[in-house]
């Protein structure tokens, strides 16, 4: 999800995840790069050669972009979770309309 709207490097992904979760989830470098390695192997993301302008760049950074397959997997996962929440709500486990 952190790559949904733009390409990001590792640290930017960590910051984005922290911001989206209100600081509740702070990914460690090890967890992040292990996930990145798996997502690269599964074809969900790829490393892009497009880089920002040199004054904003750091040559050690690597930028990642979501693939079409990655986007469809993310949508499928979101649908699955939505369905799950709907079921939980219907069972009274989540506050809100049944």
């Amino acid at each position: 999800m952190a790559l949904a709207d733009e390409d990001r490097h590792g640290y930017a992904i960590i910051q984005d995840v922290a911001a989206r979760t209100g600081g509740q989830l702070k990914l460690s470098a090890g967890t992040l790069y292990r996930s990145i390695q798996r997502m690269l192997e599964q074809g969900l993301i790829f490393e892009t050669r497009d880089r920002p302008s040199p004054e904003l760049d750091d040559e050690r950074r690597r930028y990642y972009r979501i693939t079409l397959f990655g986007a469809s997997v993310a949508r499928a996962e979101a649908r699955r979770l939505t369905q799950l929440v709907r079921l939980a709500r219907a069972s009274g486990f989540v506050p809100g309309k049944a």
């Binding site: 590792g10 640290y11 460690s28 470098a29 090890g30 790069y33 390695q37 798996r38 750091d58 950074r61």
Partner: protein, 143 residues
């Protein structure tokens, strides 16, 4: 500081380290800048230490699991070959174990009694025979 973190990253498999260590160091450096006070820096070190410890073990495990899956797939595709290979390996291991056990007991371990260098073998000579094993009764008489 960075040298220590870089050394810690050696717990990761070389391929993973080659791929991601530079960026992991950059992230550590960035966090080190943000943790200017001593308690925050200490917390960062503790976090980083356990992060590397846990995730390096997981990455090693991921690689092992991938290798095992690949092996199972390849062997599953040719079960006859797999069975032959397993039998050959089992025979090889068995033969090696037997050879090593015999070598150990016959050549390496000392005999199970004192002064083994005084051990002799007794023979008898009888008409028509140059050498026959001594009978226990004769041995008793000689004693």
């Amino acid at each position: 500081m960075m040298r220590l973190y870089r050394a810690l990253l050696h717990l990761y498999p070389a391929a993973f380290r080659d791929e991601y260590s530079e960026e992991m160091c950059a992230i550590f450096a960035q966090r080190r800048l943000e943790a200017s006070r001593a308690p925050a820096a200490l917390a960062l070190w503790v976090d980083s230490f356990f992060d590397v410890l846990v995730n390096s073990a997981r990455v090693h495990w991921d690689i092992l699991a991938q290798d095992l899956q690949y092996t199972a797939r390849v062997l599953g595709r040719a079960p006859g070959f797999a069975l032959t290979a397993i039998l050959v390996v089992a025979l090889g291991v068995g033969a090696n174990t037997a050879a090593c056990t015999i070598t150990d007991h016959v050549l390496i371990r000392p005999l199970p009694f004192a002064e083994p260098e005084r051990l002799v073998k007794l023979w008898e000579t009888q008409p028509g025979y140059t050498r026959t094993p001594a009978s226990p009764a004769n041995y008793r008489d000689w004693k």
